[in-house]
């Protein structure tokens, strides 16, 4: 199954909120291997998670 960026970004996001199925994980890995935009998106939402966790301690 070939994912579009729209589908891949959705799976990247869902992967932070639930366990993806095996087929979804494989399809996503294949897509990320060839797609810089979605790889950057994945790194950025992981960064967002780190940043938002620190929101109250850093911003008083």
């Amino acid at each position: 199954m070939m994912l579009t960026c729209k589908e891949a970004s959705r799976l990247v996001s869902q992967g932070l909120d639930r366990k993806l199925g095996f087929g979804q994980r494989v399809a996503l890995r294949v897509h990320l291997a060839i797609c810089d935009g979605c790889t950057n998106f994945r790194n950025q939402v992981a960064f967002l998670r780190r940043a938002v966790k620190q929101l109250d301690s850093k911003n008083s």
């Binding site: 959705r10 996001s13 932070l16 909120d17 810089d36 950025q44 620190q54 911003n59």
Partner: protein, 179 residues
């Protein structure tokens, strides 16, 4: 006024900002903070021995915020589901693909970064921002967020995904793009 009471009152402004950021409703935020301060004063013994008053108060406030979100969800219907189509072309490719952010974690030491992040959060629709903060800041499981917001799991994931797409775009425009 007792010393404890004065110290608790001193945290009111901070707690209000914290609650307003997550609830996006000034009146609801004020109510949540008021309930928190009352609970704190009634429960002074619970604080005894803890080192950080703000952390303790914020812990109480988080429960009040969840209560408020639960009440608001019951009262307000879901906004119509917008599409994220604007970010992708007809074949599902990014119209403008995310570019790499050089050393993003260096921003985590900068106060100004968190002010920008707060502004970006404030631009999200209320329910989107509530779902995102419950997940990423408070660390709720998605199933619990769906329950509190009274939405289906699929809708919950859409809210979270939409929040992430919008926030990364906002940070790129207002922070990382300018560096």
């Amino acid at each position: 006024m007792s010393e404890f009471r004065a110290r608790v009152e001193g945290e009111r402004a901070y707690l209000l900002r914290y609650a307003a950021l997550q609830l996006r409703d000034t009146a609801a935020a004020e109510d949540a903070v008021q309930e928190t301060l009352l609970a704190a004063l009634a429960g002074e013994a619970g604080f005894a021995g803890r080192s950080n008053l703000r952390t303790w108060l914020t812990g109480i406030l988080k429960h009040k915020i969840v209560d408020a979100i639960r009440r608001m969800s019951r009262e307000s219907p879901l906004p119509a589901e917008e599409e994220l189509d604007a970010l992708f072309d007809a074949t599902g490719h990014w119209i403008e693909a995310p570019r790499a952010w050089p050393d993003p974690d260096a921003s985590l030491t900068q106060k100004q970064f968190f002010a920008v992040l707060e502004d970006c959060l404030a631009k999200l629709p209320a329910k989107t921002s509530q779902a995102f903060m419950m997940r990423e800041h408070m660390g709720f499981e998605t199933t619990d967020i769906c329950k509190e917001l009274a939405v289906t799991p699929t809708h919950c994931w859409v809210l979270l995904h939409r929040a992430r797409l919008a926030l990364r775009l906002c940070l790129e425009m207002n922070w990382f793009g300018n560096k």
